[in-house]
Symmetry: C2
Subunit: 202 residues, 2 copies
């Protein structure tokens, strides 16, 4: 495992987090950097900015561009894309389950499975049945994990994670934070953030 680490902050509801998470593993391996996935909730952060939904819904022209841009991007990456309906999906349960998986050894794979279900297959990740199905295909103990995801401990951990994101100055997703505190926002900054980690921590 590489010494260099990069914190990779994302929300399962975030459209540009989809290509970023799918690209993250191979790019990080290539760069010799260990990426730590940090799910959080954009909702409270958007609310603090006065928004009650995604800015892509509030600002129509911005939203139209994002969907077209994501189409082009996914096509370039040979990633299938289906626009989630509704958008954004409620990502609370997925994030809580991911927090459990990321302390064990199935977190990264679960995160990719959620994004694939949501953005490639158009499945509803806000439904417990979808999350249960993804856990089952990863050969996990579905009932135990879903119960744990609803525990006060895990709920509190997701709240803390979101508060930490906010404290770090994160205002959107995906965002990347290097060990020396540099914040990079956006899927298009992933390569630069990995290179920074390598240069400044190597």
């Amino acid at each position: 495992m590489a010494d260099e680490t990069l914190d990779f902050w994302f929300d399962f509801a975030s459209s540009y987090s989809y290509p970023a998470v799918m690209r993250g593993g191979p790019l990080a391996a290539q760069a010799g950097v260990t990426v730590r996935l940090r799910p959080f909730l954009l909702g409270p952060i958007f609310k603090a900015q006065g928004w009650d939904t995604s800015p892509f819904n509030i600002y129509a022209a911005k939203g139209r561009h994002m969907w077209r841009d994501l189409e082009r991007l996914c096509s370039d990456l040979s990633l299938p894309l289906r626009r989630p309906d509704p958008f954004p999906q409620n990502s609370v349960l997925a994030a809580r389950v991911a927090l459990i998986g990321l302390t064990e050894d199935w977190g990264d794979e679960f995160c990719r499975a959620v994004f694939r279900a949501e953005f490639a297959e158009g499945r509803r990740i806000d439904e417990t049945a979808t999350i249960a199905d993804l856990l089952a295909s990863l050969k996990r103990d579905v009932d135990q994990i879903i119960a744990l995801a609803q525990s006060d401990d895990i709920k509190a951990r997701l709240r803390l994670q979101t508060e930490e994101a906010s404290r770090l100055g994160i205002f959107g997703a995906p965002s990347f934070v290097t060990r020396d505190g540099e914040l990079f926002w956006g899927n298009d900054r992933l390569e630069r953030a990995l290179a920074w980690s390598k240069q400044h921590q190597g």
Copy 2:
């Protein structure tokens, strides 16, 4: 001159338009695409979105990231950077003068000179003296051009240009529009927009 063209929409007040305009010429030449600079005003477009200043001023965390990101970006490109004060600068006069220059043969050079004055040297482009000085160093007839820039004709052309940007779905700067109507937003999409122009129009 290449057959392929790309409309390059920007506002002199826009921070990410600075590296984009400075990179634009060499990148376009390399790609074999003719870039047409189209200055417009973000003000009326932001106003329609409910903003009375730059979103980088309204949303503090977003603003902090932008300035740091621009620092890193300019450093990577070996472009000097001085943060304009105030930000954003009033860009109306610069845009009107650019419209004149772009129908003659000194428009591209004038645009780069304005961005350099504003973002590299910290000069105030909202002051007529600065614009006059830039015109003088380009060996232009300063008084004639400044007078023409205040004419009803040029004022109307800048309004039309901004209305066209809005009609094209432009909501920020820089934005690139290909001949077949693809809209790309952001300095980081410049390479992709040039490649698109080449692929789809070549």
